[in-house]
Symmetry: C3
Subunit: 357 residues, 3 copies
């Protein structure tokens, strides 16, 4: 809608406190990946020993007009801004090239806000959002269209709740929390008493507590506690379509990729990394900094700083060894056949009158 | 918002018809788990032979002011109410400690209800809910904010449809059904005719039928029949993020944990238990009371009263045996090496002029 | 609501250009599966060499009043309409028996449409739908209740966006695209820079591009690019609860069943078939017409026209062989025991004074 913004390379280097090698007067109007960048774009290359060949090749071929880069590459004849962390540098410059937009402040006339709700300063509440009785919305928090906030929810400052997310009654949510579209916070847990083959629903009167700096992916579901609380600690990041059952607790800075599922009352440590589609049964204890390879199926506790994979999840090294063994099974079978033949021959020679069957 | 309610222990015992041992005059204002309870709280302990050590320890350490318990524990010096089923007892008392709240009755002026819709007595239809033409809403049913009910849906009495759930046209839903936030009932099935590498969409003109006493989890999806119906029978409980494809039929009192996926036209029996992330291919027949361990990948029929696990799912005992075999593979390999050595030695001795290669 | 429509068999045969064998004057008022059809219904049978026994039996037992069928079955004494593709024939006749309904055209007064949005001819925008600033809605596109379209989205002609779907800012969507309820297009990708154990959110300023003739399932999530775009090419069909991460590219006419998850920057070829609950790690390359058996866990590139399964996904034939080997492991163990016994006996006989331990 607007004319594109443009920035001189030397301005951008100054902005990041980076060392510029090359022509600083070139003007750039975009920020793009190595593969997509054209002469009018800045791009970036983090370039470590672990960088895949794809990136090395992309660097050689890029048409970018200038680069954020960790060390000078003299073979590339474009201006280079040397910074210690090109990825974070690029992230910082995004606000130049793509100025963040925020919706208008205030309560839109097509929103519903209960008279008993408390609304902080500079809040945006957009059309078809619903804020129930006694809810509390912190300052500068943005409630996108169609979000439903049920009674007695408490949302901290500077949160952003994207369209059609649902936060059910009583949830306590800290500051700087992002909840993506369609996420459901605080639905009833999946808890029944089984009596004579039928299931009697247990009421779920617990809540969900989400601490500061948490991000919850699109269509992810976090159930309320049966009693007590489901607790998502500071800095946790959950991807899309993740399921967190009642009374689970997730430690600080733990990260779960898409479609993970955590069953009731499991306690996950800090800085745990969980690959996509991992599943945990209920009542487990997971130590700090455990790592789960994608699609792990976890049926027992996992100590800290352990990498597991497979179903049932075991230490990843064991799993790799087992897979290698599997691949060698037919070789094993061959050896046994060979042994059988030799032994049979030996027995025949020893007593030629007794025929083996 | 209100002052906390408080109840005397003897009142609570009377309410449940339980036997009180200890001081009945103590007043309690909360109901909490053994671990979370304080002196002002009631807690409960079901205590069976199968109770894990966590619960036994939690009982020993609880700070609860009184207990619902199956048999008297004289070593604990708090009042104890003896009932046959402490979990159900606690569930029954929840309505004392946490009186259920219901939204105001009536159609909110910010809801949309078609003129041709039929609305039962004492219904609540909240802001931004949509009720399409010729829909029928049973008595006392609660439609939370943002729910979308498309034309010709029939919803029974005493249902509760939580925020932003979607029920597409023609679905027939019984009484006492709970649909959690974001669930989608009656989207088109995933059916195409493949012709020359392209996919031609098949129209889905079937419906979804949900019988009484069913509970559908948050963001779960149940597709309509291509022709005919997808059928969820009485008492079925589905957790969050479950996928039920077109023309599936699920038998009475069957339970599926989060993220299960059932492909088209599969027929599931009664009282089946399915662990999380289990997947079934299409057109399967599953017998009554079959049990699926979490993450099972099912590619064939499963007879009744069978427990299966793994991919491809097999009887769980076989799977456990196979895993044990796997763990012993290197031992097997060792034995073969030993046999080879012995045999080689034997052959060498027998004919020392012929060197084995 | 209406009286049922009825059609003569000969009219239906004419409509499809099929050959009628039997009484053309019979009137039919429905279209149903072989199992469900009654005397007033048309049914159909595709009948190929690969048709399962269920269908053959259903044909023998059907009570349908007439049949669409690929070749005449003289043993069935109902009118038969011979067509080359009975399934497609039935699909074509659906519009007779079940005339498609469309909502009223126009912008409903309970919808919100930004003044700067551009709305094509004959569009329907239903209650509680939100169309943000500078969005563009193509001609004849239908926006169901509760859909949220954020600023700068471009939607082509003849799209249908079902209730409560969310399309975030800047997405570019072609013509004839169907998005089912609760789907989320364009949420932020799951991308962080990890620095000293904490995760710094990377801004996601890319977009989602969806070409013509794509169908997106209920509650499916497609994340926007970090930079650049996530690209869903012409004719792709995604089932429910699928997750597509940032910067993924999916080739033409590729099909993914429910609950698949594709991690960031993976490139999927054309006409790929992916069974349900399949997961791919990031940065993979998948060739055209690769096939993934349900629940595959894919950690490496897969060449075109290859069928893989299991975790870690390998060529399906190898996996089947490995499973057969597994089942034979105890037999292998038995053979080794036998060899040990024979060898021990041999050694004993050879030197009876030396006892083996």
């Amino acid at each position: 809608m607007n004319d594109k913004l443009a920035f001189r390379v030397d301005e951008l280097a100054d902005r990041l406190g980076g060392k510029l090698i090359g022509d600083g007067t070139i003007e750039l109007s975009g920020l793009a990946s190595l593969a997509d960048a054209g002469p009018e774009d800045l791009s970036f290359y983090s370039g470590t020993a672990f960088t895949g060949t794809t990136y090395v090749e992309a660097l050689a071929r890029t048409r970018a007009g200038a680069l954020l880069i960790a060390k000078h590459h003299p073979e590339l004849d474009v201006p280079q801004i040397i910074v210690s962390d090109p990825q974070l540098g690029a992230n910082e410059l995004m606000s130049q090239f793509f100025p963040p937009t925020k919706p208008e402040q205030g309560i839109h006339p097509l929103a519903y806000v209960s008279d008993s709700a408390q609304i902080g300063d500079d809040v945006s509440i957009m059309p078809f959002a619903y804020v129930g009785s006694h809810a509390h919305i912190g300052a500068r928090t943005i409630i996108h269209p169609g979000v439903k906030i049920e009674p007695n929810v408490r949302l901290g400052n500077d949160c952003r709740i994207w369209p059609n997310a649902v936060i059910r009654e009583g949830a306590l949510i800290g500051a700087n929390v992002i909840i993506h579209p369609g996420a459901v916070i605080g639905a009833d847990g999946f808890g029944y008493a089984r009596r004579e083959g039928k299931f009697i629903k247990l009421r779920h009167v617990g809540i969900v507590v989400i601490e500061d700096d948490v991000e919850i992916g699109a269509n992810t579901t976090i159930d309320r506690g049966t009693l007590g609380r489901t607790l998502i600690r500071r800095g946790v990041k959950l991807d899309n379509l993740v399921h967190i059952a009642h009374n689970v607790e997730i430690g600080e800075d733990t990260v779960m990729a898409a479609q993970c599922g955590i069953s009731g009352s499991s306690i996950i440590g800090k800085r745990v990394l969980m690959g996509g589609q991992t599943g945990l049964v209920d009542h487990l204890q997971i130590g700090d900094e455990a790592v789960f390879i994608a699609q792990s199926g976890v049926i027992g506790n996992v100590p800290g700083r352990t990498t597991v994979s497979g179903y049932p999840a075991r230490p990843h090294r064991e799993v790799l060894r087992a897979h290698a063994e599997m691949r060698n099974l037919s070789q094993l079978r061959g050896k046994i056949r060979e042994l059988e033949t030799k032994l049979a021959r030996l027995l025949d020679e020893k007593d030629p009158t007794v025929r083996r069957q």
